[in-house]
Symmetry: C3
Subunit: 121 residues, 3 copies
């Protein structure tokens, strides 16, 4: 998430598998290429608006699956700080990742984000 906050959207998208899925609420983006493209668009909008985003991950639990996968569940908080302005706690979410080991690195095969107050838990 630090890569995303730094605007390094390609590097961030590379933490997904090539066929990775990124679900937020009831919409989903399929494939790391499209995930990178979507992230770039959002990052450009925030940069143009002069808003720094900060994603905080916490309360992590990791559960091994029988098939070598891991399920990582965490709370994620999204902060937005406009140039010269106050910190806004924009969103509280729960993030559930299915992780697979690929090339000596854990990658996200499936990420599901539910936004508190907006999406059903």
């Amino acid at each position: 998430m630090q890569l995303l906050d730094a605007g390094s959207t390609d590097e961030w998208a590379a933490t997904f598998t090539e066929d990775g899925v990124f679900e937020v609420g009831d919409s989903a983006v399929h494939g790391s290429e499209d995930i990178a493209r979507a992230a770039r668009k959002v990052a450009d909008e925030f940069a143009a608006a002069g808003v720094q985003r900060r994603h905080w991950i916490g309360m992590l639990t990791v559960t091994p699956g029988g098939d070598g996968e891991l399920t990582a569940r965490s709370y994620a908080l999204v902060l937005e700080i406009p140039t010269g302005g106050e910190v806004v706690v924009r969103r509280s979410t729960v993030c559930t990742d299915r992780l697979v080991s690929s090339g000596g690195q854990w990658r996200v095969k499936h990420r599901r984000v539910t936004r508190d107050g907006l999406d059903p838990a």
Copy 2:
């Protein structure tokens, strides 16, 4: 705290010992049964109001005691997110737990929560 946020109040209360004590400010609840009952009441109120709570634990320090107990001190932040509404950072607290090992699991024998701005530190 994730159990509490999910409304699983009995499971959450089971992280206390049977004779566990839960102190917040100058009030205290004694015994995991009463702790469960009190938590259920609060959880029902939040559910009825359509408010999601999120407890974040951070800045943890763990100190071993001479008697096999552990003292765990952490900051805890309480967020509230109403349906369709903005994130509210409701409370900043310090949580001090005395933990005992019981049946292969650490349980809370005594939890003391001080709420910043309300309770003496």
Copy 3:
């Protein structure tokens, strides 16, 4: 940071090396003695105003340097809670520390804090 929040400014300043540098934005304090003095002044002001500060550190990455130093990069959030008042998320920052081992303890040789919305990243 818990020492700082507790008003134990000397103990907090002792986590720096004697010649440690503390940079925030484009100002810098040199030497643990001056760092302690500056921290004391700020702590006294907050105490006089009846405001509790809480520093949350998260999203930590640690990178070893070739020379036995460590670079620790983290997000740091500064909360302020006035007596009887609401929690204010005052500041979101990125904290980059160069740590050296000294007397069996890691100490901060150089800390650079950039404040989101105020300082260039």
